[in-house]
C-alpha cells in the first residue's frame, strides 16, 4: 500500500482535462474524503458536490476509475490498485457546470416527462386507501421506490448517450413504481409518456443501470415491465 495516492481530477467543463494531485493515504478513507482533501488543502478552486456524506442523498455521485459511484460510500481500498492511482471525473451523460459538478436539470426534466409524479383522487378529508402490501403491484412498486435520484444509472447507460431523447433508467423506473400504484389515476397518460423510442422501447437490456445502482435497484426489470404494459395497451388500441 502506497503512502500517497496519485489522484487525477477532472478540471473544466465538458471540455477540459485531468489535473494531478498527491493525497496522503489514510487507513480508512473514502473517495469523497480524497476530493475534500484536495479542495481544502491543494486546490481551493475545485468545484464538487456533496451533502449528507453518509449514502442517503446521492449528491456526491461521480465517475471513479471509469465507473459511476457514490464517492462517500466508496472506500479508496475498493477502487485503487497497487499503484495508488485514482481517476475522478464528473458523471457522464450530463452537461458539466464545472469540474466535478454536473447540471442535473435534464435528469429531473426527464423524470417529469415520464410522468414520475403521483396523481390521486383522495384528499385529507377522505379515509386512507387500503393497499395490500403483499399484492403483486405493491411488491413491484416497492422494488423500485428507494431511488434517491443520484444519477448513477443515467450516467452508466449507453442508450442515454446514444439517444438524447431517451428518458433513461431512473425516470422509467420511477414511472414503473407509479404504474404499479393502484391509487394513481394518471395511468393512461403515463403509459403514453413512456412509450416508444424516447421511452422504454429503446432499452436494449445492457443492464449497466442495474449493475451500478448503489441501492441495488433494477431499472432494467422495471423497464421490461413497462415494455409489457405499454405494448399490450398499444396493440389493443388503448393507448
Amino acid at each position: 500500500m502506497t503512502a500517497t495516492l496519485e489522484v487525477k481530477v477532472w478540471r473544466g467543463k465538458s471540455q477540459g482535462g485531468f489535473s494531478a494531485y498527491a493525497v496522503p493515504r489514510q487507513g480508512s478513507q473514502t473517495v469523497l474524503d480524497v476530493v475534500t482533501h484536495i479542495q481544502r488543502h491543494l486546490e481551493p478552486t475545485l468545484s464538487y458536490r456533496f451533502a449528507c456524506r453518509v449514502g442517503m442523498c446521492g449528491s456526491c455521485a461521480m465517475t471513479v476509475n471509469g465507473l459511476a459511484r457514490w464517492t462517500c460510500r466508496t472506500h479508496v481500498t475498493k477502487v485503487v490498485g497497487n499503484d495508488g492511482r485514482l481517476e475522478i471525473a464528473p458523471l457522464a451523460n450530463l452537461p458539466v457546470i464545472k469540474d466535478l459538478a454536473t447540471d442535473m436539470t435534464e435528469f429531473f426534466d426527464k423524470w417529469a416527462r415520464a410522468k414520475g409524479q403521483f396523481k390521486g383522487t383522495r384528499s385529507r378529508h377522505d379515509d386512507f386507501e387500503r393497499i395490500e402490501p403483499a399484492s403483486a403491484e405493491r411488491v413491484a412498486a416497492n422494488a423500485g421506490i428507494e431511488c434517491i435520484g443520484c444519477g448513477v444509472c443515467h450516467a452508466s447507460c449507453d442508450v442515454v448517450a446514444w439517444r438524447p431523447d431517451y428518458l433513461g433508467p431512473a425516470a422509467l423506473n420511477r414511472a414503473w413504481t407509479l404504474v404499479n400504484d393502484v391509487r394513481d389515476v394518471n395511468q393512461a397518460e403515463r403509459l403514453r409518456a413512456v412509450a416508444g423510442d424516447a421511452g422504454c422501447h429503446a432499452c436494449h437490456t445492457q443492464g449497466s443501470c442495474t449493475e451500478r445502482c448503489p441501492k441495488q435497484l433494477a431499472p432494467t426489470l422495471a423497464i421490461a415491465g413497462l415494455k409489457r404494459k405499454v405494448a399490450k395497451a398499444a396493440v389493443r388500441g388503448e393507448l
Partner: protein, 127 residues
C-alpha cells in the same frame, strides 16, 4: 379514471411501441424456426452440398415451402427493426432515414426470400 385520448404528439411513440411488439412476436416465431433450421442444416451439410441433393428434398415439398415462407416473413418483420436501431444509435441516421432503410430492407428480404423458397420448392426444375 379519466379516459384521455392521445393527441398527435403521441402517435410516433405508439407506432414505435407496435414495431417493438411485432419484432418480439416475430422473434418468438424465429426462435422455433431457427432451432429447426439449425438441426436441418447440421443434417443436410453432411457429405457436401449439391443441387441434386437439395432440390431432391425440396422440390414439390409444400410443407417445407410453407415452413420456410413463414421463416422468411418472420425475418422480414424482425431484422429491419434491429437494423434501424443500429442505424439510429451507431450510424447517425435520423428517424426518417432509419425508417426508410428499414422498409427497404424488409422489402428486400421479403422479395428475395420468397423468391428463394419458390426457387427450391417449385416442382420440375430443369437440370
Amino acid at each position: 379514471m379519466s379516459a384521455s385520448t392521445p393527441d398527435a404528439t403521441h402517435a410516433p411513440a405508439i407506432a414505435q411501441a407496435r414495431r417493438w411488439y411485432w419484432q418480439r412476436i416475430s422473434a418468438m416465431v424465429l426462435a422455433l424456426c431457427v432451432l429447426i433450421h439449425l438441426a436441418v442444416m447440421v443434417y443436410a451439410v453432411r457429405g457436401g452440398l449439391s443441387a441434386a441433393e437439395i432440390l431432391g428434398r425440396t422440390q414439390g415439398n409444400w410443407a417445407f415451402g410453407a415452413f420456410y415462407a413463414i421463416f422468411v416473413v418472420a425475418c422480414a418483420a424482425h431484422v429491419p427493426v434491429g437494423v434501424a436501431n443500429i442505424a439510429r444509435e451507431w450510424w447517425g441516421l435520423g428517424e426518417r432515414a432509419a425508417r426508410a432503410l428499414s422498409l427497404a430492407l424488409a422489402l428486400l428480404l421479403l422479395v428475395t426470400g420468397l423468391r428463394a423458397v419458390l426457387a427450391v420448392v417449385a416442382p420440375g426444375g430443369a437440370a
